[in-house]
Assembly symmetry: C2
Homo-oligomer: 238 residues x 2
DNA sequence: TCATTTAACTTGTATTTACAAGTAAATAAT
DNA sequence: ATTATTTACTTGTAAATACAAGTTAAATGA
């Protein structure tokens, strides 16, 4: 683990309020304390409080209304960075499991890679792995990940089962995802995909190709994700 | 048309920089003028300039780097609020066309509507329309729209061909989209969808169900969108 | 009683000031 | 010539202050 840097005040308040919303202290439709109340409660000035609320708003946790206040928005449940919301069953603490199909190995980048690569990335090779994620014992995501092998010592030796790749990168290498691009398509399931996701061949699956940016400039994470959207949908905000 | 309210300074600067980026004055990878330079150029203070840049960053037009500056990010092409990016051909000024399948009509909401509705919405009924959007004469989107009939006089009489629904709402009713939720699935094309999008039956299509929030609290736009993602992908940021 | 006005809240916009922290290029020392 | 160091720039964080504008409920008027 790596020593954390000093966390700014607005970030601390953001994390506190976010946790309270996710824990149900503030429920959907509730009014958050006003900006001035938060100032007094946490000993900050209004611009600092407003920065926290602005980030919460941008990330979809609240909606702000001039003259009224900040109202808690409904809560997406996140898996990795993907949000899913069930189309049939109600939200709840579902059993979530990750299974490794191909353990992390160091290899060359595929020649027809889905995103253009820099010279540095090409030279470094990539760490490759395949996982399937289950929700209530139903396979939902088949995830193929690529990371450039830049300053990631001993990563292939680490335990990935039931632990988020993002969490390992944050705890051990202090790498955080800052954002990214994605392409979304609907494709027919190949033989391999239908086998892994327990689908019939040619059945429609969602295909996401993602490039994620990190706080380490020049280091990107790439994922090709196949989703079974028969029972669950991908949920998003814009 | 409705008289516009006063537009805040940070919004003006946002629009100027956004237009310059879209027009290619600042190209991908370029460094924007520094915050202090923008202050002098536009006669604002740094917090105001920073608010513009922060919005640009949140909307994916730039990426900020401490110590370096603001760097122009690549540009997705937008159709309505959806962004598409070609998987084969290069970006360019494509021929974009909207064709009405069902003209706007006032009707009751479907009984099994995709989102829960408020009492006010149910009472008001909805304005319904169907459109298909073409890119280079290829049908890409089949869009079914629903709007609650709240304070929208004479909307069914207006011209919708080749003009964005969002633009009409903004110009005539001063309604702006502030954000929204969406569910994404991959489904097999029905007979109607395959006919409209020139696809084989059962071929995978992307299905988006969107609820869009407006600056008018209580007024939402709903869309059910079917996308042919064979040649183009839906492009997004997170 | 009912409608209007007022007052007390809320968030939105904007200025000014100060220092911290990251980057890159010019400068000095080896 | 090469390596450190300094310096000058960049964005990040934070405070204190002021007024505008939207919302709500209490106070006031007819």
């Amino acid at each position: 683990m790596v020593a954390p840097k000093t966390i700014p005040q607005y970030r601390k308040l953001y994390e506190i309020l976010r946790k309270h919303i996710l824990d149900g202290v503030y429920k959907e439709g509730d009014l958050l304390p006003s900006e001035n109340e938060l100032c007094h409660l946490f000993g900050m000035t209004r611009p600092t409080v407003r920065q926290s609320l602005s980030t919460l708003s941008n990330n979809g946790y609240i909606r702000k209304h001039q003259g009224k206040g900040s109202i808690v928005h409904h809560l997406p449940r996140e898996i990795g960075i993907l949000s899913v919301s069930g189309t049939t069953s109600a939200l709840g603490n579902r059993n979530l499991e990750t299974r490794i199909i191909v353990k992390p190995v160091l290899m060359q980048w595929p020649s027809d890679f889905m995103f253009p690569l820099t010279e540095l990335e090409k030279e470094s090779g990539c760490i490759y792995m395949e996982r399937v994620r289950f929700l209530d014992d139903v396979p939902i995501f088949y995830d193929i990940s690529f990371i450039a092998n830049i300053n990631l010592p001993r990563i292939t030796a680490r335990q990935f089962e039931n632990r988020s790749l993002f969490q390992i990168l944050r705890d051990n290498y202090r790498i955080e995802i800052k954002g990214g691009d994605q392409r979304i398509k609907a494709i027919p399931a190949t033989a391999k995909i239908s086998r892994l996701l327990h689908l019939k061949k040619e059945q429609p699956v969602l295909h996401l190709e993602r490039k994620m940016e990190t706080n380490n400039p020049g280091l990107f994470l790439y994922s090709s994700i196949f989703c079974n959207t028969e029972k669950y949908s991908i949920f998003g905000r814009f």
